[in-house]
């Protein structure tokens, strides 16, 4: 069977949605014949629409046509980044701004937010700062409303805010009810509140990208690590359910799973400078930015429900200590 025939069959089989038709019309500028002249264009049109707008024809990138780099750029997109005052959140906000996005930076500490905003504006993008405790749902709702008022839309939500250090380390008998609730609220409920506030907007627009930040502790256990590990494990499941639920609304939900990112000297000492990480170092905040850019971009329109580890290879192993191999036999 010739591939063009196969393509047409697929299109017909799945009963094209109104979105799909809109996409076809927009792309072909009213000329279906013109469209079909391009090799594989029917398939690409169909493929591109259900997963977002893509205008490339199969195997063809004609001069002046849409390139991968066009898909990777974030020009014109608006992204909310929680926990944007420092660490991974700040790094993602700045690198996404460099790739073209305007940023809504949310965090508890205004001074830190202003530093992030300064860096975003330096690269020529707009930045709205909203002081927010993401563990409190009213504040999250107000933050999202402020974002929509300022920019009129939100394309990307990065649920980055969390509290690692204060959420583990105590023995189980030392953890109060309040400790438990706070640990779960700041690391898990916060992501639920943000998604609940923004998803109706994304559903109306039939487009959106949600990036939840989990942790290697969401996949493996840790000593004296209860609230953090439980909440981050739940973030993975939250991601999967959102991914399945909103695929039809062209909302991609994915999860970044950072490994060891020692943000201060105490953590650097605790993790022994990263010498137990296969790549031989801890993560640097700027390591995460490109992944955030990719997952926010049109280049990831069929990546959905993915858990993407960024951990120097740590989670690929784990049944021997890093850097130690069994003795070689002849």
């Amino acid at each position: 069977m010739k591939s063009e025939n196969i393509m047409i069959l697929i299109v017909m089989d799945i009963a094209p949605s109104p979105d799909y038709m809109t996409c076809i019309n927009a792309r072909s500028k009213g000329s279906a014949a013109q469209l079909s002249e391009q090799r594989g264009a029917v398939l690409v049109a169909q493929g591109g629409c259900a997963g977002g707008a893509t205008t490339r024809a199969i195997g063809d990138r004609a001069p002046g046509g849409r390139m991968l780099s066009d898909d990777l750029k974030l020009d014109g997109k608006v992204a909310i980044v929680t926990g944007a005052g420092r660490g991974l959140g700040r790094a993602m906000a700045i690198q996404m701004a460099e790739a073209g996005a305007d940023i809504v930076a949310a965090a508890r500490t205004v001074e830190q937010l202003e530093e992030t905003a300064g860096a975003v504006r330096t690269v020529g993008r707009r930045c709205l700062t909203v002081r927010t405790d993401v563990a409190l749902s009213q504040q999250v709702t107000a933050m999202v409303a402020a974002a929509l008022k300022e920019f009129g839309k939100v394309d990307v939500l990065i649920n980055n805010a969390g509290a690692g250090e204060e959420s583990f380390g105590k023995t189980i008998d030392q953890i109060s009810d309040e400790d438990w609730r706070r640990g779960i609220d700041v690391n898990l409920s916060s992501q639920f509140y943000c998604c609940r506030a923004i998803i109706p907007h994304m559903v109306r627009r039939k487009r959106g990208k949600i990036i939840n930040i989990a942790s290697g502790y969401g996949l493996r256990g840790g000593k004296h690590n209860y609230m953090y590990a439980c909440a981050k494990g739940a973030v993975l499941q939250f991601t999967r359910s959102l991914a399945l639920t909103y695929a039809g609304d062209n909302i991609q939900t994915n999860c970044i799973v950072p490994g060891i990112f020692p943000h201060n000297e105490r953590l650097m000492a605790f993790f022994k400078g990263g010498k137990f990480i296969p790549l031989g170092r801890g993560g640097e905040d700027s390591d995460v930015g490109p992944l955030a850019v990719f997952l926010s971009s049109e280049a990831s329109n069929h990546v959905n429900g993915a858990l993407i580890r960024i951990d120097g290879g740590g989670l690929a192993g784990g049944i021997t200590p890093t850097g130690v191999a069994p003795a070689l036999s002849a």
């Binding site: 001069p63 031989g280 990546v303």
Partner: protein, 262 residues
Amino acid sequence: MPFPKELSDFALPDKAALVIGAEHPAGRVAAAALSEAGARLMIASQEPGTDEALAQTAEAVQAAGGRAPIVRAQSATIRADVRATVDDVVERLGGLDVMVMALDTPYYAPAEAADDLAFDRVMENNLKSVWMAAQEGGRAMLQRSGGAIVVVSSVLAERGVPGASLYCAAKGAVANLVRALALEWARQNLRINLLETGWMTEEGSPALRQDEFATNLLKYLPYKRLVVPEELAGALLYLASPASRFVTGETLAIDGGLLCRV
């Protein structure tokens, strides 16, 4: 056309890259993406006799703004061929920085119908070929300052599919091969990652037949459609470039969320 400077993490300026399995759609997409990012390319086949498809890939590379790639017909299951290909790329491009393997030979048959010959062929084409290319390419990369390897595989590595037991076994083996190699080579700055595709619009796929399986499958997929090869491009470039500098031994699925399903 230079790659945009605001995406410099994804750029591969003048890097030497080898795509094996370049006659396949995933290989073609990889070659075009690497080329757009600035890499100099050799494209090699999984099987000989695929010149027409290789020529189409070469065209896609140039359409993406790159120079004409070096084209090499070879068999990915013959050690001498793979070694000669790697030697050739090192000699002609001055080394090897990036290697993408799009090695795939699907096999669907009831378990009781498969004989030992089928077992050997499925393993040879889907597993041993990856092992040999990783070994030969890895050796060349370790001689310099490391590099990045991307292995294109399938979500069948993660779940069982009835009627595809051998294929699932081979793909599962590839996935854990990648993890182990990642740990072995991490300290030498050689990263290796896996890109798993969902059911794709690829010639010969059972997902394209007009039968009960294909009809039900489409309803089951979160996006109600198959993956288009071009949708692999961004993830391929992410894994092949410094954008993923802190990532090794990782699996990235392009499946629209299929692996989330019960």
